[in-house]
Symmetry: C2
Subunit: 318 residues, 2 copies
């Protein structure tokens, strides 16, 4: 039970957050367009959990990334980016598959990216990964690694070990049929995971893809019925609704100045986790998560040069 | 038997060449480097057989492309490039897999590209493909489509139907372990194909990857022993050696002005096929192939604005 005025009790482990799953190259068009007309693309560090690991480090806590890249120059580039951010890369595995890559087109209409999955779904559950996991307070993953085998089996072991060791589990149910392995009911599998995690943060679109169209209140109820303990449903410009099954709280959007929505969800997670680790209550941590997200929205790109959490707290008068 | 002073007798079919296999996006770094350090990449039309189809059209004969792309913007871009070149795209299939893509780094040391294979290896042998095939004089493919299933099964049917219908088969044995499906002996499979085709054009490096290091003469003998009928072994700056098993002819390199070697092999094939279709002897067609290759070497990129074959013939005094 996550009481809004409670602090989360973490295990006394050395590391704060371990993110498990995709690290990848984003190839983003330099020109605006809806259908990859652009002839030039910029290569950027990407992957939602890896962005969270980068963000929380800047906000002021410790993070580790467990992921897999190829034995290629793009894999080396990603590892070097983590090292430059002073993140331990012992859990980044190098595989015989190409470093995963996503081609995106800069657009105001959010066209579907093109996914090239390689190394990311070959992450193995190794003794090193297990050791880093049981030395962490929080473990976080998204739909990517559960969408394909063999990495799904690694995530299943991560969940099992995390529960045994009372490590908080955060799950981003960013389900999209495009990433799911062919011929399988991804929705059913995502639903089967929800009861095994502690905190989930669906967007309105995620909820609709999983349950079909419905009211916000009904969507939240469905997540709770599946066993979610704290549901944070984001509504874009309309803010967010958060429920622990007993109390439901509406948050208005803090952002007044939206330049680029890329990475806004990851920024929320980053602020929320950092605040919870620093000993703020859930209510305060949620507010700080939305403040970091609002800060991020003023800049372009998934990776923004975030200041320490305390600076953002001050800036938003929290 | 391909006598050097003979003309190739083709079937009286409407289309000249059908290329079967990869059509893909080349993402090439804008800056030089050996390990994908460049942060900007240009999106280009690529895939060796598709380049040949584009080239022969400019040189003055008819071509068709049988290939598979994704239902995505990059697939639409490739199809539009073919249409702009006035090439029939009825044999370009759209699949649920992402359009295949290769990331390359501009370098003088030819670092290994990173291969993202998707739609290309899902090309199906359909009634439409069969109809286009039996209406062509030449069919051409490279190692890409035989390196993975299911497209390999389509190529096996293409070979069977081409032989039944006396269509000339050209094969580029550009074997590379990086493109081959895991856990299979690609070399053994490539060798098993050689006896089923008419003309092959290995580079020195291709021969070494297939047979290990040896003299040029021995390498050519090995291809002939496997059943190749005409072997064109290219030696880079040293030209080429061609053998039909009875006669062996050395060609010196025509190129005096090498700006970029990308696509030089495809340019050779394009000139050779165009000349053979236009009724030149094999000896003349080889010379014209090397002339088109020399012309291509003066420009940057796989796709060069080639003139008609007759202009190149005149230019090189053939």
């Amino acid at each position: 039970m996550f009481g809004f005025d409670d602090k989360i009790e973490f295990q006394k482990n050395n590391n704060d957050i371990l993110t498990v799953g995709e690290i990848l190259i984003d190839m983003i068009s330099t020109e605006y367009g809806d259908n990859f007309e652009s002839s030039t693309y910029n290569k950027l560090f990407g992957g939602s959990p890896s962005n969270i690991a980068m963000n929380v480090k800047k906000l002021g806590i410790h993070s580790l990334v467990a992921s897999a890249v190829g034995k290629d120059g793009l894999g080396t580039f990603l590892i070097n980016q983590l090292r430059n951010a002073d993140i331990d890369t012992n859990c980044v595995q190098r595989t015989d598959y190409p470093t995963s890559l996503v081609v995106l087109t800069k657009s105001k209409s959010s066209p579907t990216p093109i996914f090239y999955r390689g190394a990311d779904y070959h992450l193995a559950f190794t003794p090193v990964l297990e050791e880093y996991l049981i030395n962490s307070k929080i473990v976080h993953f998204s739909c990517w690694p559960i969408s394909m085998v063999p990495v799904r089996h690694s995530i299943e072991k991560v969940i099992e070990k995390a529960r045994e060791n009372h490590i908080l589990i955060g799950f981003d149910p960013n389900y999209h049929p495009m990433i799911w392995q062919r011929g399988e009911d991804g929705i059913r599998y995502v639903k089967s995971i929800i009861g095994k995690v502690d905190i989930i943060k669906p967007s309105e679109d995620d909820a609709e893809r999983l349950f079909g169209k419905d009211t916000h209140e009904n969507q939240i109820r469905k997540f709770l019925e599946l066993g979610a303990k704290l549901v944070i449903m984001t509504l874009g410009k309309e803010g967010a609704i958060v429920s622990n099954g007993i109390e439901t709280v509406k948050y208005n959007a803090l952002a007044t100045d939206v330049v680029d929505t890329t990475g806004a969800g990851d920024a929320f997670w980053s602020g929320f986790y950092t605040a919870a680790i620093k000993g703020y209550t859930i209510r305060e941590s949620l507010a700080l998560g939305f403040a970091v997200s609002a800060y991020q929205l003023k800049y372009t790109g998934a990776i923004v040069d975030l200041p320490k959490l305390e600076v953002i707290k001050e800036r938003y008068g929290l």
